[in-house]
Subunit: 180 residues, 2 copies
């Protein structure tokens, strides 16, 4: 296995050092090429990097997630277009959007960046603050930046600065018939 | 950008050469480590490799997708657990499953394998044939194998053996406010 898959984990400690345009766009460019149902490419990326943009994002992120996200220099809201070309509801947009996110996480790791996805934000406030039409669904907010020093985090979060475990492959892989 | 992201595309031409256990498990192991909401890891992988297993999968794949998938030595049905730990419906399982799929596709590409996801199969037949309980959702069937010769494909599909394009980053990335 390519080491960046197993070594990647979602730290909460970010350095405030900015992420250069070419680095950020390298990450998003990788996501652009992932496969999607009917090549529909439902993903859209709303990026916040300036002080003002980050303040706007902070207005809808829950306080418990803000105490550490305030250090991340880049925030990316992942939204997905929920309709097919013919206007019927897409059954795969969230899955497709996750495909893009998986690639953002691994390309970022290859560039030495940390990413951390959060679902803990107010979707209605975000929709309003960023003028997102009803036909887009709001998925995760991604925090992206270089790894930081965990001593800058609140004490309770410092203790959580370790990679989480995973189920074993035995629990995940089934030959031919599901035995969950 | 790491070249395997942009060079990867979903060919329909597979070689029937088997995929060794350690290669398949390297791909699934990479997916095991992706992040998910609350580390819920909703992904499960049902794998078909033997003749009998592949026949069972063929029973629910639509004929139009079977004429080329019959060559792929490995089929993987991606299913996701749709409930949270407390039994409430998960709002993120499809997105999380897509994260795993994005990593399967890129780790496979790093190993010289082709992958192609299809949604064109009968979910109810599949659920029955593979004994999948109601609390799991069926996402995509992944075909996985080494690249093959397109001359083995039906003529109409040979013409489609080129990478598809993508929207430009200008259409996908928005600074701070959505302008779709």
């Amino acid at each position: 296995m390519h080491a960046h898959y197993a070594n990647r984990w979602s730290s909460r400690a970010f350095d405030s050092r900015p992420v250069a345009d070419e680095v950020l766009y390298t990450v998003l460019e990788a996501a652009r090429w992932v496969p999607s149902s009917g090549n529909g490419q439902p993903w859209r990326f709303i990026v916040a990097r300036t002080e003002e943009e980050r303040r706007r994002f902070a207005s809808f992120i829950r306080p418990a997630n803000r105490e550490w996200s305030d250090h991340a220099p880049v925030l990316i809201l992942l939204i997905s277009y929920t309709l097919n070309d013919n206007g019927t509801p897409s059954g795969s947009h969230a899955f497709d959007e996750g495909t893009a996110w998986g690639t953002i996480a691994s390309q970022a790791a290859l560039l030495g960046l940390n990413t951390h996805a959060i679902g803990g934000y107010d979707r209605e406030l975000a929709r309003e603050a960023l003028h997102i039409p009803a036909e887009y669904e709001l998925l995760a907010v991604i925090k992206l930046g270089y790894p930081g020093d965990k001593s800058a985090l609140p004490e309770a979060l410092q203790e959580r600065e370790v990679p989480t475990g995973r189920r074993s492959l035995n629990e995940l892989v089934f030959e031919a018939v599901f035995l969950g």
